[in-house]
Amino acid sequence: MKTLTQIPLGTQLLFGKAAKKRRRIERTIFSVFEHWDYEEIIPPIFDYYDVFAKGMGAELEDTIYRFIDREGNVLALRPEFTSLVAKSVATRLADQPKPLRLCYCGEVLRYETPRGGRQREFFQIGVEHIGGEKIQADAEIILVAIESLKKLGIRKFQINLGEIGYFAGIVERIDFSQGDLVKIKKLIDLKDTAGLKAELERLSLSERRKNIILSLVHLTGNSDTIKTARQLVSNEKSLEALENLGALVAELKKHKIDEHIAIDLSEVRGIDYYTGTIFKIYVPGLGFEIGGGGRYDNLLKNFGCDLPSVGFSFSLERLMSLEN
């Protein structure tokens, strides 16, 4: 049988030096998490499909591995940890004093083409901060991320901060169909100005709205970017998002980590459960982000417990691929 010796696409086997290196990275990061009082949680590798489907959103939902059990329930292999942690907190840990600081490490599974730093089975290590004061919590987990990187000996990195609410506020009052919105998001994500212009033309938006969306594409840079962004909008949601972002940047300034912080308001893609601050971490020499996270204030509500939360994770494969 051919399949006895073949390797399924997107899986990996670690041994020898690589396995040692991987465990060393895990221990180093966990020591930082522990130091910040994050307690480990070990969730199951599969759960009901519905637990994940909503949070992943239309774009990523298709990547979930699902299967049917003997009673006919639809189950899924976990495509991420956050929904599982949220579910546990909303149910089993509902009585625990807040804020809750939890951390995890393990494999997640997504049906993706293995390329460009993606695997089908990949490992995440991360934290969730649940029920805390927002700006403080956002700042805290970014500091945890920074300390983890430093402890791993990674000195050069950049954290791009964004706010989902900014874009959400802009498109909220435009009458897009779901399909149009997905298309617009995709074009912004590609930074395809030409394509975006044509698409906005087709949707016959007002000049002002067209310009806002087109400006969004390159809304990246230092903290001045927030000022530029403010001049573009007048809706409450976007303004509030910028206020949050400004407050977070001010909070982070106290910790003298400015050199690592950048602003990116053009980030509109990704997992659907994010509601506020989002961030991505880049390291020179690697063509894709090494980790990221964000705020998900509405996710726990799905499980019957309304608590603001924020979290992030690193990709262990990508950390592994960095030179020491």
Binding site: R115, G116, G117, K156, Q158, N160, L190, K191, D192, T193, A194, G195, V217, H218, T220, G221, A262, D264, K280, Y282, V283, P284, G285, L286, G287, F288, E289
Partner: protein, 213 residues
């Protein structure tokens, strides 16, 4: 961290136009280099490093960040589905991707067939195009001289690029319908866009100024 920006260039039909555009933008490559067989070339002011690649490989180099940026036709970008930024239409390398067929086959509407057999260098785009129209498609993947396939009976039709239409005509083929307009794009790696933002934005701006309106 090195400060030079690395740029992947497509050898072949796009290269001359790309070099002209770069020169207009103040980025000069020595002719002795571009006419040589060197695969890695620096510009005369040594601010950039260029990789000379097969067009289809450009998106891959950029996706992995081995090249910070690149110049690639929309055909290979769509076909590769590489996850990269495409900030600028360079308005060079214009052509169309079309379905073409020998005259007899061209007269028959392929929608009436139970299945079509297509020779192409673009299996992904072709499959998507026909399945969206509800027509099952059998792909004959080729890497060159696609026009030959219908002549020898390897396929009923082809999907390929056409600019003047001369190659098609000389091989007794005609356009059945257009699939998309193609031109070259500046592409940028996602991490490079963030980490080397100043240089990347400078490159985008320089090129944007000299792109024909």
């Amino acid at each position: 961290m090195k400060d030079t920006l690395t740029i992947a260039l497509s050898k072949g039909r796009l290269l001359d136009d790309a070099l002209v555009l770069l020169r207009k933008a103040g980025i000069e490559l020595a002719e002795s280099d571009t006419n040589s067989r060197k695969l890695v070339i620096a510009d005369t002011q040594k601010r950039f490093q260029f990789f000379m690649l097969k067009p289809i490989d450009v998106p891959t180099y950029v996706e992995y960040g081995v090249a910070d940026a690149g110049i690639a036709g929309r055909d290979v970008l769509v076909e590769s589905t590489a996850d990269i930024h495409q900030p600028l239409d360079l308005r060079i390398g214009y052509c169309r991707m079309v379905v073409a067929a020998p005259k007899a086959a061209a007269r028959q509407n392929y929608r009436e067939l139970s299945a079509v057999r297509i020779a192409t260098k673009y299996p992904r785009i072709t499959t998507e195009y026909f399945t969206q129209r509800g027509v099952p498609v059998e792909i004959i993947p080729l890497s060159g001289s696609v026009e030959l396939a219908p002549l020898l009976g390897l396929s009923d039709r082809i999907v390929d690029l056409v600019s003047s239409g001369r190659t098609l005509a000389e091989n007794g083929l005609q356009v059945v319908e257009p699939i998309m307009d193609i031109s070259a794009r500046l592409v940028v790696n996602r991490a490079s866009y963030q980490i080397k933002r100043k240089q990347v934005i400078d490159l985008i701006d320089r090129l944007a100024q000299v792109v024909e309106k």
